[in-house]
């Protein structure tokens, strides 16, 4: 897992942040903190408020209440010195279609006090073969990579990535992940929103789940929502000529058999796995398709956001 950022200075601090659009409360008082060099993934269903939260941090929206600091400054004041230290990747590719990749990057670099080298960033996002191509001739994935490059050209300390790999093919996603890992290896801070749980799992030091305008869970992806304490699911193929009752399972378990696969949940699987494998070896059998899984980040996410939606739906007061 990533390095411990507990002692690093705070890059972003959000306390009691509220925002409404008309009668709709988009954010109902959220808190979170990001330390320098950390990757924070903001997760949440569409309309949960995560884009609103990010746009307030980026300085695009004014908040209604609460305190927000980004690199020690209030983003609402839109200081130029802050904008020079922040890189933003929006969901749209927003580059003049008639400029070439190198021209667009050079133009953007000219707006920053200490930009990175254009050639280096073009290489970094894998567009060296397209450096002289006009932006309008790039494929969708290439435009997204250009977008990422445009956000990095100013040598930012803090980078906001709004669904950065949507529409990428699997290998392009892996490459983009490597770029993000490289950014935090250089000590930069990254805030990313995504719908892909594997992306959050692969990149984030911490995850904050927003649902219905509130933070419903936050923490490292491996322990989010008590994942590390959750039940473990064990599956394997029922050996031929064996009845379920012959398996050496503790009496309190209630195994199921589905399509020839035995399946059960257990809090602590060490002992039962030992008994099972010893039993199988003793009979000269193998446990085909043996799988031992903890709930995935996606399972936890779905249950967390499902609960939040349930609270909203019942009209009951929130905690």
């Amino acid at each position: 897992m990533g390095p411990d950022h507990g002692g690093a200075p705070v890059a972003i601090s959000v306390r009691g942040l509220t925002k409404s659009y008309g009668n709709t409360e988009a954010l109902r008082g959220i808190d979170f903190e990001v330390r320098r060099g950390e990757v924070l993934a903001l997760l949440g269903p569409n309309g949960a408020g995560k884009t609103t939260a990010v746009e307030i941090l980026e300085g695009y929206r004014a908040r209604d209440g609460g305190t927000v600091t980004v690199l020690g400054l209030d983003p609402e004041r839109r200081d130029r010195s802050l904008r020079a230290k922040v890189g933003i990747v929006l969901q749209e590719c927003a580059v003049d279609p008639y400029l070439t990749v190198t021209e667009a990057m050079t133009q953007r670099a000219g707006l920053y006090p200490s930009p990175r080298s254009v050639g280096e960033v073009v290489d970094l996002v894998g567009l060296e073969a397209k450096a002289r191509a006009r932006v309008k001739t790039l494929s969708g994935g290439q435009q997204r990579r250009l977008d990422l490059g445009m956000a990095l050209i100013g040598n930012p300390e803090l980078i906001f990535l709004d669904e950065p790999t949507t529409g990428f093919d699997p290998s392009a996603r892996r490459e983009a992940w490597d770029v993000v890992r490289g950014l935090c290896a250089e000590g930069r801070t990254v805030v990313l929103t995504t719908h892909y749980m594997d992306e959050a799992q692969a990149l984030a030091d911490n995850v904050t789940v927003i649902a219905a305008g509130r933070v419903v869970a936050s923490g490292p992806p491996d322990t989010l929502g008590g994942r590390d304490h959750g039940v473990t699911r064990v599956r394997f193929a029922l050996p031929s000529d064996t009845a379920l009752g012959e398996l050496p399972l503790p009496p309190h378990l209630t195994p199921r058999v589905r399509a020839g696969m035995v399946e059960f949940e257990i809090d602590e699987p060490t002992t039962v796995l030992h008994e099972l494998t010893r039993w199988a070896i003793g009979r000269g059998e193998v446990l085909d398709g043996l799988a031992v899984n903890r709930p995935s980040l996606e399972d936890v996410y779905l249950s967390l956001t499902g609960e939040a939606a349930g609270v909203e739906g019942s009209g009951g007061g929130a905690s």
Binding site: L90, E92, C93, A94, V95, D96, Y98, Q107, G110, L111
Partner: protein, 253 residues
Amino acid sequence: MNDLLVAKEQVRYEQKAYWRNPMAAVFTLAFPVVFLVVVGTTSGTSRVPGTTLRYDQYTVVAMLTFGLIAACYTNLAMSICLRRDSGMLKRMRGTPISIGSYLGGIIGSTMINVAVLAVLVVGIGMGFYHLHFPYHPAATVVTLLVGIVTFGAIGLAVTVIVPNADAAPAVVNGIYLPVVFISGVFYPLSNGSVLSRIAGYFPVRHMIEALVSAFEGGPGSGLRGHDLVVMLVWAAGALVFAARRFRWEPRHR
């Protein structure tokens, strides 16, 4: 960062993008030139009443005005609407660039386009319609600058009422084409007619009158203070409106 230097760089990139996009150049340069040739050669050579210009020479002034409006108003409004919808404006706003540098780049580039247009149109007029080089060059330049400011400001203001890029051509052209027609761009208006009185409320007619005066031989500076003031009042109103209501982002989806 030096804002002026950034603005200069912006002009360079605006120019690159402009000349690579055939549509923009067709509207701002080819249309006025083609109209000039077609309308000019069919206009005859008698004098326009109340001026020393012939009908074909008047067409040069009218098409210079027409092209300037296309460059400043139409092209500016369309490209701002497109950039707003595509997220380019939002993107720009997330960088350290100042609004002045960004707008300065666009306006600087537009001024170059107007200069190219003026050379082209006046050159054709001098080559084919016996037009004299403008008798009052300073007044011509001042009038063109006031025109750029006025129609650029109105172009910015009109982006406020354009809901999205798809609607931009309809709204932008729907406002300016009727005004252009009643303002004597395609045929000189007779003074005192109902149309000319209506057109007097809008800046296009004043732009033509001011340019005619700068092109004609005559005593004085060739500057038409009254016409320029009417244009600047429009410019000020449009700028105030734009400054208060300008949107950097597409309307909520």
